[in-house]
Symmetry: C2
Subunit: 234 residues, 2 copies
DNA sequence: TGATGTTGGTACCCGCAGGTAGGATTTCCA
DNA sequence: TGGAAATCCTACCTGCGGGTACCAACATCA
């Protein structure tokens, strides 16, 4: 894998009889579940991971539609059927990538909800953590938001649910802060959207080589969020 | 135009001799400048406008790549060459649409900079106006941000410049407020990005039929911006 | 009342990228 | 150690959609 010298496979050089025939559906494509050695699975998983990594880089760089699977294959030093062996089709790759773009933030947020202590502190920590994951998985986040219109219905639905959940969770945390008298918010739902925007937007402008360190950004945005809810941090 | 009954054009039904030949470059495509009647120009402009409107609707709905020019043509009740008569190619349409998505906000912001009075008031008015334009031209805004990766270099550059300008202008206004002692901001550039995110993000969630009216949204977001800069509005 | 320029429809071309057939190797187990 | 199953490459196929050649109709002015 990956840039290995020309994998010495004796080329058949057959000229193909162009007859078509109904053939069995191969190894079901997309994770044959397997029952065999655990090693097998790990290798499989690893390869899938490699594909996703390269694909996300290319999708991020050139956009989904402009990225061809041949490009992905070339980066990996393999060919298209390799990819099709591991994924049903191009959309499945996009789906997988996008799922990662959104799911992590929710986890972080859920933990903050469960936590104890002042709502302000939890909000601060939550935002910091969320920004952190956005910066870390910037490519996945960007793809998730940019390529919305390239999802087909069945994969779009769950992703949208997760996204809505994010706003809902954030709203709940804000609500708690208001109830406890820590926050002063005119419209909670709107405030949640505003915070979400401020935070998510980072995927558009963050650069590793930027003026501020990731730590500073996390802290800075978290403080701004606190200002927005009327609970500025010392 | 537009859903007219089958435009009765006698069909030639010729079977075409498939010979190719070098022909002159037609009416230069994309606004033949014209010198004739002023009426002519207005009609031309109107048609271009119609194309842009339908295209933006479809781009917004299905994404740029998934929208075919045949779809646009069909919506207008015309055919593809009609479009190609008015635009050089598909990218030119996207370019035009995107330009509108970003340029208006800058104008508004520039006016606020020039204005007199407290920085806080001007920021409030500026944000309100910007949100207003974002809501009004939601489709254009969405396309501008989503389709970044579908611009080719020469059109991307000016658009990026305009976008950067937005942040710069906003920063300047914030800076002024800090200088006057009205705002308390830890990091001006970051704060500008945060406000920009909060505001621009509206293109992702705004719905005309939503809970809040456009007016309320403009006011609400503007107030949140003031909270962020430490100058809450009574 | 033609000649000349505009306008856009018909019918087509063609390249690219998603996807597949089928077989050549290798791997895994009995 | 033989044979089934897994893996992935070579060589295709195919359709869709951007773009074009050509011409019919209309407008305009002389």
């Amino acid at each position: 894998m990956a840039k290995s010298p020309p994998t010495s496979r004796p080329k058949p050089a057959s000229k193909r009889a162009k007859t078509a025939s109904v053939s069995s559906k191969a190894p079901k494509a997309a994770a044959p579940a397997s029952r065999k050695s655990p090693m097998r699975d790990q290798v499989m998983a690893f390869k899938r991971e490699q594909i996703l990594t390269e694909a996300s880089e290319l999708f991020y760089e050139h956009g989904y539609q402009r990225t061809t699977l041949d490009m992905v294959a070339q980066r990996l030093g393999v060919t298209k059927p390799f990819i099709y062996y591991h994924f049903k089709d191009k959309a499945a790759i996009l789906s997988e990538i996008s799922k990662r773009g959104i799911s992590r933030g929710n986890e972080v947020l859920r933990q903050s909800l469960d936590g104890k202590g002042r709502a302000a502190d939890r909000l601060y920590e939550a935002i910091k953590a969320i920004v952190r994951t956005i910066l870390n998985s910037q490519r996945y986040t960007a793809i998730f938001f940019r390529e919305q219109k390239n999802f087909d219905a069945e994969i779009l639905a769950p992703l949208e649910t997760m996204h809505r959940e994010f706003d809902a969770l954030l709203s709940r945390l804000l609500e708690e802060g208001v109830a406890k008298g820590e926050f002063r918010i005119a419209d909670i739902r709107l405030c949640a959207l505003a915070i979400g925007g401020m935070v998510n937007w980072a995927y558009t402008w963050y650069r590793e080589s930027g003026r501020l360190s990731a730590d500073d950004l996390c802290d800075g945005l978290a403080r701004l969020a606190l200002q927005m809810v009327g609970a500025p941090r010392a």
